[in-house]
Structure formats: C-alpha cells, structure tokens
C-alpha cells in the first residue's frame, strides 16, 4: 500500500496483466524480466509471460496491440521512447486498460503511474562523483545509443552538469550504441590520443564494464583505486559484476538502477489502477516520492543510490540479491 | 554380327529424362563403338543435348542405364570418374568468365609445383595449346573478354586436350567460321587415328558425312535409327529426322533480285568505327544482301551499329531516307530495324522470361493502349510467330531457359520479326537451327523480302548466304568484294579468308 485513494470503477483488480520489455540483451532488463514473475506472485497479480520488443519502437506498439487483443486488463510497459509510445497508450486508453510506464516517462498520453529512477539524475550523479574526485582534466563518457531516450538523457545531463559545476573537466565522448566492441575500440583509440584521461563514465555497466576494464588492462592502465595513475570509473546499472569490480577497487562507483523495485512497483501500481485507485503527489511508504510531471503525469521517483566502496555490501541493493 | 560385336565404348539404353511436364527423352538409346565417329542428329528439341548431359554425367536419367566399356557409369558425384571416361564440349558455353583463358583450359587439372599451381607451366602449356588451334588470344585474358568464336575454340581445345578416349562435341561448329571448322576436323581426324572415339552433333549434315562413320537419329525424344552414314543418303537422313518425306532443298539458291529498280531502302555511307572503316553499302527494298567475313572482320560490329547498339566514329546510314539514330536502339527500332544479335545467350534472350515475353520484347508498346500489354494480343502474336517459325515449345508461357538451343534461336528471330521491320539485320540467324527449321526460318526471310523488307544477312554460313541476292565480303574492316548470286563456294571462301585475287 502506498499513498492511494480508493476510488470506484476500474476493473475490480482482476484480470490478466501484460508486461512488455524494451529489450533483453542487457543484464539490467534481463534481471527485471526475472523479477517480474516473482513480484507478480508477491503482489498477487496475474501476469502473462513477458513480451520483448527487441529495441524496436514500432514492434512495441504492435506488442501493446497484441496484448490488448488478448484481453489483458492492465499493462506494464517499459517504453523504448518517451514519445513513440503514445499510439500504444491511446489504444489502451480506448479499451479502458490502465498502463503503468516503467523506466521512461511518456511525453504524453494516459498512464496511471510512471515508475522510474531519473535517467538525468544518473548522469548528474556520475558527473558529481567524477567532478569531486577528479577535479580537472579529461574525462570520457561512453554513451548509449543517441537515438534512445535513456542514452540521450544521461548524456545531456552529464554534459550539462560538467559545464555548470565542473568547468575544469573536459569531456571526451564515445557514441557506442550500447555495443561493447564499439566501446572497447573507441576507448582504446581515445587512450592513444589522450593518455592523460582521468575518469570514465559508463552509461551502461552491463554492456560497457567488461570492455572498459579489458581495454585498460591491456594498455596497462588498470590501477587500483588509491594507487597512482588510477582512472576513476563511474558506472551505471548496479549489476553484481560492477559490485565485484568496486570491491576489487577497479571501479569507483555505480548508480544502482532498481530492477527489483521497477518490477515490484510496476505491478503494484497496475493492480491498484485496475482496482480503480488513484494517486496523489507526496512521499510514499517505500522511500520515494510521487511527483507530478509538467504534462500532468504522476511519477513515483524510485531511489537510485550511488554505490561506492562504502555501501557496496548493503544487502538491500538488488545487485546483491541475484546470482 | 552379334558374336563379333566389340564391347561398346559407350552405351545408353532406355534413357528417360523429364523436366517437369516436358519429356526431353522418352527412349534415348545410343551405342558408340570404339574407334568410330558417331554422329547424333535430330531436329531442334529432339533430345540430343539431353542425351549428352546424361552421357557425360551432368544429369542423372530418370530411367535407363549408361555403361562405358561394359561397366556401369560412375556415380553422379564421382566427378573424377566421369572426367577419366568422357570429355565434352557442351552446347551452352561452359567457361568460367572471371578466370583466365589459361585456367579455363586447365580447370581443376592445373600443373602443380610442390602442391601449388605452377603458373609458369600453366601459361606455357596454355600458350602451346592455343597455338595448336591458332587462337590468337592472350592466355591471361579473362574468359569473359573472349568473342563467341574464341570461347568456343577454347572449349574445344580444352575437351580435346583432356586425354579422354571418348569425346562428345555438341554442335561445336555452330559458332565457328569455315577456316576454324576445317582446323577442327583436321584435329579430329588426327585423334581418330590415334584411337579416340567421337560423338558428334551438328545440324550441318554435310559435316556429318565429312567426319562421321555412323549416325544415330533422334526424333521426338525417341531413338529412330542407327546406321552407317554411307547407308543413309541425305534425303533419307532428313526424312528420319523429320518423320516425313521431304526434299532437302538446301542448295536452292535465290536467283537474281526480284526487282532491280526497287528503291534503295538502306543507304550506308562512309561508316567508320574501330573494327571497320569507310563502309559503304546499299540494300534495296525486297533485296537480301549477305555480309560475309571471318570472325575478326568487323561484320558483327557493323550489324550492331545498324541496330543502334554502337555509335560509329563517322558516317551515316539512312533507312528510307531517314537517318538512323546510332547508339539508340529504341530509335532504330522505331525507324524500322529488326535485329538478330550474334549470341543468343548474350544479347538475344532473357532466359528466365517466357517465350511470349521474349518474342514480344521489342513491341511491348504496341500490344495495347497506355502501355498495357494485353495478354490476349501477346498470346495471339506469339502463337502466330511460334507457328510461323515452327518453334517447339509447350506454349507461350514456357520459359525460354527450358527450350533447346535451336528453338531458343528461333525465339530470337521471332523477336526480330515481331516489330514488322523494314530492315532486318540478321547475325548468324541459323546458328544451331536444324535443317528443316533452317528452311522455314529462311523461308520467313523470303516472306519478309516479298513484303518489301530489306534484309542484311551477316553470316559465314554458306547456306544462309546462298539465298542472298548478292554477298559483300568484309576483310579487316573493309568491303573487299561483292559477289552476285550464283557464286561458287570456293570463290567466296577464298574472299573471306583474304586469299582471292580480285
């Protein structure tokens, strides 16, 4: 139970719920996918098998249509794009099926709730960490797909934060399209031209962690934190391998995207919406706040803690609960 | 007779081969005895090439047996076994266009040096081989750069150099000029003396009498007769092929021009391009003019220029007073030029399209309004052409790819006739066409000429040229002689080869 008013109508809280994933080739979404059935059980939701849109926004619209044709009474969607989801939302609205958006806030359209940790906040946290620990010099951000809203928000937030708060830092950029080999090749190249690089921000630890460490290792630049010549690395995702790397001192910090909470509260809110409940801005019972976005949409801003050496063993972190 | 019969070198019995609904061979039989030169004749589509592909292991028969020296034929996948047994020049070009001439000659049997190919030896051997055939091509040249004749010679040279005791030649002479044919026959005789056995296919029956001892006739996919050539005079042979009594008539000549005062339709002046120089020629309405010359004389290029496929350096050509737009095929078509190109595989046919499509390719705009191609009109026009040219096909909807060689050639002729041209330019129009069909093909030329069409026959086939009112001879790009009808063979051959004396 969170901050919710019990209202009339809805679908009475029963019926099947469709869960649509944006992609499955990232460890983060794979974890989310694994959490869905578990959380469905604990939240008492009759969730269908998850559907994977395979990074294609048009496919996602088709998937929504397919689920609606099957008679789902609620939908949990992780939109691939904040704008290119509207057509899907409209379809659902026409059928009176409530939708909860996970990870990406739609620009427009009707959703019962957005469950997300702020992508822009990821970029800012990484920037703040690097700014405080590196101070000045060259830092690299290994970006995602520029055509994806997640990658875009993280990139722009990081860039803007550096410009505003840490003008001493010079940002070098690697557009790596969520591809590990692209990340490795371009980081390798940049390190040749800029041997003085002091910090790296990985926008997706699941994809970029291994190639970054591997490239640094093969160039003899992988030094433990605290030793001379260490390159500060801030990652993003919160998968177990990042935690291990933090424990080893190879990576300084990572922003933990709450995969478990995404699954849990996505299903929680959709059930509530199906029961006809509505929500108000304000603090929740799970250490987050519901805010009203400019478009009028409500968003439950889940905490995305920065994990460093100090809190890496915190059992509450989802990365410590999976294999 | 039975007791003394030697073991046949190659023997096929009761061979059946079907392609979908077509039965290409219903009763294929042949017995080739060691040391003989065996001719295989039959009309276009009789199944000769099909029998060859079965005899050379290119395709498995649907039924029937093939034996060599009394032993069963090798398995289809045993390519080495087949290569040891039989060599073949196929009717379709079987060269690899991207490889050099030298490699094509020694494909998969290149001389080795320490396990790798010895290019030097390969080149030397290729040069030697080409020299024996007097083929003037660079052994390093790509096969795709060869002319049709050169390509054919390279394949013949390859087959005859393989060292097989049994050699199959499927219409080797269809693309060669007379000197090249003579050279082939000389080689064949030499090999015969050393014990090589030949199976020889040709539509030039005089060649059968010249080099073969035995002949087998196929008709309508069935074996008809096998006999010593001496026992089958030409008329009987043609009858066996055609299945009816028929005069041969191949030597009938055309007589003089029908109307010496007919207006000049084609007037070519000072035409000059790379392979020919300062050509001047005229063709009157209703006149058939032959253009002879060896393969290197430039005659085919001249024909292609008139068809709009090439742009000359200088000169003009007027058709009924209008300048032909060189380099513009469509313009030339509109001006009234019908064209049979030299090589049906290259420029003549779209193999995947149907007989009807190919035959009407030049007149697509005329089969309906607004560019629509009306199926009924295409069918009617095609049906008419198929009948007139006696094309053996399942129907207008059969892909040309599936036709036999000679029938495919007739489709090219159909395409040229479809546009009802005022000038017909025919390059080697009867290549690969059987004797009876040749008659009907040339009869269509006669029809056209009666309707006032001017005809230019570019060929070195004496049968084709004999029908011409006059024959011009091109030598190294210049017109060097003109022979009015009634010339004698040796005169013309001498002129073509550049050894006559005026």
């Amino acid at each position: 139970g969170s901050t919710a008013d019990t209202g009339a109508g809805g679908t009475g809280g029963t019926g099947k719920v469709g869960v649509i994933l944006p992609l499955l080739t990232s460890p983060f979404w794979q974890s989310y996918n694994d959490y869905v059935p578990r959380m469905a059980k604990s939240e008492g939701v009759d969730a269908l098998r998850t559907v994977n849109s395979g990074s294609d926004p048009a496919q996602q619209i088709t998937d929504i249509g397919n689920q609606l044709n099957q008679g789902v009474r609620g939908l949990v969607v992780a939109p691939l794009d904040s704008a290119a989801i509207e057509a899907g939302l409209k379809q659902a609205a026409r059928k009176g099926v409530p939708v909860v958006a996970v990870d990406v806030a739609p620009d427009r359209g009707e959703v019962a709730m957005v469950v997300r940790a702020d992508n822009a906040a990821y970029g800012e946290k990484a920037c703040a960490y690097l700014g405080e620990h590196v101070g000045s010099g060259e830092v690299v951000q290994i970006m995602g797909d520029l055509a994806s809203v997640n990658g875009r928000d993280r990139s722009e937030a990081f860039r803007a934060c550096v410009k505003k708060d840490f003008p001493e830092l010079k940002v070098l950029e690697i557009p790596a399209k969520w591809e590990s080999d692209t990340a490795a090749a371009k980081l390798d190249t940049l390190l040749n031209a800029h041997p003085g690089i002091k910090g790296i921000y990985l926008q997706a630890g699941g994809v970029y962690l291994a190639p970054t460490l591997q490239t640094l290792k093969s160039k003899g630049l992988l030094k433990k934190a605290g030793t001379a010549g260490h390159i500060a690395i801030v990652s993003n995702d919160g998968i177990p391998q990042e935690f291990d790397a933090i424990r080893r001192g190879e990576v300084d910090a990572t922003v933990s995207q709450p995969a478990d909470a995404y699954a849990r509260y996505g299903l929680h809110y959709v059930k509530a919406a199906m029961e006809g409940r509505t929500f108000r801005p304000g603090p929740t019972d799970h250490h987050s706040t519901i805010v009203r976005l400019p478009g009028g949409i409500l968003e439950d801003q889940l905490p995305a803690p920065l994990v460093t050496r100090d809190n890496v063993d915190d059992p509450a972190l989802w990365g410590n609960t999976v294999g | 007779m039975n007791t003394a019969a030697p073991t046949p070198l190659a023997e096929a019995r009761d061979v059946v081969k079907r392609y979908g609904p077509t039965t290409a061979l219903a009763d294929g039989r042949i017995t080739v005895l060691p040391g003989e030169s065996h001719a295989l004749v039959g009309r276009n589509g009789a199944g000769k090439s099909t029998l060859v592909s079965v005899l050379t292991g290119l395709q498995a028969p649907d039924a029937g047996t093939v034996r060599f020296d009394g032993a069963p034929a090798p398995a289809l996948a045993d390519r080495d076994g087949w290569r040891r047994t039989v060599a073949c020049v196929y009717q379709r070009p079987m060269v690899v266009p991207g490889l050099s001439v030298a490699e094509n000659l020694f494909l998969d049997r290149q001389p080795l040096r320490r396990g790798l190919i010895g290019w030097r030896r390969l080149r030397a051997e290729a040069t030697a081989l080409l020299d024996t055939w007097d083929v003037r091509v660079d052994p390093e040249a790509r096969a795709s750069e060869l002319s049709v004749e050169e390509c054919q010679l390279v394949q013949i040279a390859r087959a005859l150099s393989l060292g097989a005791r049994f050699i199959v030649l499927d219409e080797p002479t269809a693309r060669l000029d007379s000197r090249e044919i003579e050279r082939l026959f000389t080689r064949m005789r030499a090999l015969q003396e050393s014990g090589v056995t030949f199976l020889f296919i040709s539509h030039h029956l005089q060649e059968v009498y010249e080099v073969c001892t035995t002949v087998t006739v196929l008709r309508d996919a069935r074996w008809v007769v096998t006999a010593p050539v001496a026992d089958l005079p030409r008329a009987a042979l043609v009858e066996a092929m055609a299945g009816e009594g028929a005069g041969t008539g191949a030597h009938r000549s055309a007589g003089g021009p029908r109307d010496p005062a007919a207006p000049v339709l084609l007037d070519v002046r000072g035409l000059t391009a790379r392979p020919y120089r300062d050509v001047r020629l005229t063709v009157r309405a209703g006149e058939v003019v032959g253009l002879a010359g060896s393969s290197a004389s430039g005659k085919a290029e001249l024909a292609e220029t008139l068809a709009g496929l090439r742009t000359p350096l200088a000169g003009t050509a007027e058709l009924a007073g209008e300048r032909l737009p060189f380099g513009d095929v469509r313009g030339c078509l509109a001006a009234g030029v019908g064209f049979v190109p030299r090589d049906r595989h290259d420029q003549g046919l779209v193999p995947g399209m149907t007989v009807g499509d190919n035959a009407t390719l030049t007149v697509l705009g005329a089969l309906g309004r607004f560019g629509l191609v009306r199926a009924d009109r295409r069918r009617a026009l095609t049906g008419d052409l198929v009948r007139r040219l006696d094309i053996r096909t399942e129907g207008p909807d059969q892909p040309v790819r599936e036709l036999s060689g000679g029938n495919a050639q007739k489709v090219v002729m159909a395409r040229a006739l479809a546009s009802a041209p005022r000038l017909l330019v025919l390059v080697d129009p009867t290549a690969g066409v059987d004797v009876k069909s040749k008659e009907s093909l040339l009869a269509r030329v006669e029809d056209a000429r009666r309707d006032g069409t001017a005809v230019l026959v570019v060929s070195d086939e004496l049968d084709d040229l004999r029908r011409c009112d006059r024959v011009l001879v091109l030598f190294h790009g210049r017109v060097v002689a003109e022979h009015p009808a009634g010339w004698r063979d040796h005169e013309l051959i001498a002129a073509v080869e550049g050894v006559d004396h005026g």
Binding site: A58, G65, N66 | M353, V373, A375, G395
Partner: protein
C-alpha cells in the same frame, strides 16, 4: 552393325495436355508460401481464441502496412536485378525531415513551419531524392548497388540522428498520422493504401510494358538493351519509385507509432529482405511476383502475432520465430519441388 530401325510410332504427344498443367504448376510456384500461411492461421486458431478474430487480423494488417510498402519498394529494385539497402533509412529520414520542416523550433523543428501539405510533399520528395542519388551512383557511375546503398544507409542513419540531435519528433499535424489512425470499413487507411499499391504494382509488373521491362532488365540487361528497352532510364525510375514508396512506408510507420524516433526503420531491412525473398523474389533479379512478396509480408506478420499470443517465453521467442521461417521455406520447397537458388 545396327541398321535396326525403330518401329514407326506416333511422336509422343507432349503439347496439348501438358500445357495447362505446366501453367498451373508455374502459377503455384508464385504462391508457394500459401500452404505455410494457411498452416500458421489454422495453428493460430487452435492456440488462441483471440487469434482469428476480426480485430486481431486487422491488427496484423495494420502493423504490417509500413513493412509491406518497403517490401514492395525493395521487390521492384530486386526484380530489376539491383539492391537498395538504404530504403530502411528512408523510412526514418523522409518523414523526419518533413516533420522538421513543419515543427516550430521550440519542438526541435527547423522552425520553417511549412504548411502541412508542403511538408508531406517534402517527405515524398526526400524519398525520391535519395532514390535518385542512389540511382545516379549505380546507373551512371556504375558503382555496386549493394555497397552504395549500404553507405547511403549509414549516411542517412547518421543524418537522422544529427538532424534531430537524437530526439524523438512528435506533435506533428494530424495529417502525419492520418494513414494509420484513420479507418475505412474498420480497416486502417494505411492497409488500403498498401493494398492498392500492391495491386497497382502487380498489374503493372504483369500487364504493363514498364513492368515487363523490369523483368527483362533483371533477367538479362544486355538483351533488354538490344530489344530497345532504355535500361538506364528504367533503372533510375525504379530507384526513385522505391524511394518514394519507402517514404510512404515511413509516413505509415510514423502514424502507427505516433512519433518519429531517431532510429525509425533501423534494422527493418533484414525483415524486408526476409519477406521479399521468402515470398519468392530472387536476389539475382528477373524473378518474383507481387502476390508472392505479399504472402511473405503476411506470413511474417502472422507468425509474429501468433508467437506473442501463444505466450512463448520472451527469451526463446526469437529463436522460434527464425525456426518457423526456416520451416516455411522448407515447406515451400517441398510443395513446389523447386530449387531456390
């Protein structure tokens, strides 16, 4: 020696009866996929009650319309014996440029705020221009079509990301969405448009001289030229037409999705080739029909829909999808007995 003579028997009558049957077989080949498509429909009906409902089938059609347009475009190019990989990027760049022309600067547009009709014409124009450029490089400069259009694809993908700065474009005038949102007889306009385009293309290919010219060029360009077909001009025309059709496909996709993502169309070309080739369009040129290509599109759309409805595990759905395509190919191979190379 054998002067034995065969008894005079009538020549095997090979023509009359064979003809009709041969024609039938040839027609059947064009629709080789039909058995596979029917099988999927029947299985679908058993697997899920919702599958064979009108609503669901309309969904399949609506989601396939944009793909169908691009498959149509690609088929025309393939029949002519060429390639055009850049069509997938036209699906993105053409509507995106149109949208940028109409959107105010505040919404990431160029700020030109052209009238909608002009902007929509610009979409088609962009498609035509890309096609023309490809065509000129291939026809006039004689560059390899595959690699030219691959490079073009990379360039255009880049231009799309560059021009939109990676942002998704939305809030275009309703006309941009009308094809997917408007319906006639409960079926989206885009489906009717795609159907009309296929019918027109099919008729042209079969019954118009331009269509016949495409097959001739694809089958043997030299022979086509010798028969008076203006090969270069027709080929240019095909590239331009394909560009325009892909641009229309782009508008359909825009309407379907409700916005233009900076990677709209990306990776679509794989599906396009799959549909075309499964549908019997030959990569060597000169062969294939519109009805075949259409069955290819429908098969892929139906299988996709079916798999979603069948509740296959998300992890395995792709593998199964590929497996079904393979099976369909084999089925087509067996039912027509035709080698596909």
């Amino acid at each position: 020696m054998a002067d034995t003579r065969a008894p005079a028997q009538p020549p095997a009558t090979r023509r009359a009866p064979g003809q009709a049957r041969a024609l039938l077989i040839r027609r059947a080949r064009e629709l080789a996929l039909l058995p596979a498509l029917l099988a999927v429909l029947v299985i679908g009906g058993f697997v899920n009650d919702a599958f064979l409902t009108e609503r669901n089938l309309v969904s399949v059609l609506g989601s396939s319309a944009a793909l169908a347009m691009v498959v149509l475009a690609e088929s025309l190019v393939l029949i002519t014996g060429k390639f055009d990989l850049s069509l997938e990027s036209v699906v993105g760049i053409a509507p995106a440029l149109g949208a940028l022309l109409v959107l105010p600067a505040a919404k990431a547009g160029f700020g030109t705020e052209l009238p909608t009709a002009l902007a929509l014409s610009a979409v088609l124009l962009v498609g035509a221009a890309v096609g023309l450029l490809n065509g000129l490089l291939v026809v006039k400069l004689r560059l390899n079509a595959f690699i030219v259009t691959l490079a073009m694809l990379i360039v255009l993908r880049g231009v799309l990301v560059g021009a939109t700065r990676g942002k998704t474009l939305f809030d275009m005038p309703d006309a941009f969405f009308a094809m997917a949102t408007g319906t006639v007889l409960r079926v989206p306009v885009s489906v009717w448009v795609a159907a009309a385009a296929f019918a027109l293309a099919g008729l042209t290919l079969r019954h118009h001289r331009v269509g016949r010219a495409l097959y001739a060029i694809g089958g043997n360009p030299e022979a086509a030229r010798a028969a008076g077909i203006r090969v270069d001009r027709v080929m240019l025309g095909v590239f331009v037409t394909a560009g325009v059709l892909a641009a229309v496909g782009g508008i359909m996709r825009t309407g379907y999705v409700g916005a233009i993502n900076a990677n709209q169309g990306q990776n679509m070309i794989f599906t396009v080739f799959a549909a075309a080739v499964i549908g019997g369009i030959s990569l060597d040129g000169g062969r294939g029909t519109m009805s075949g290509a259409l069955t290819g599109v429908l098969l892929l759309g139906t299988v996709d829909n079916l798999l979603t409805q069948a509740q296959v595990q998300a992890y395995w759905i792709q593998a199964i999808y590929g497996g079904i395509i393979l099976l369909a190919l084999m089925l087509a191979r067996l039912t027509t007995g035709r080698a596909q190379d």
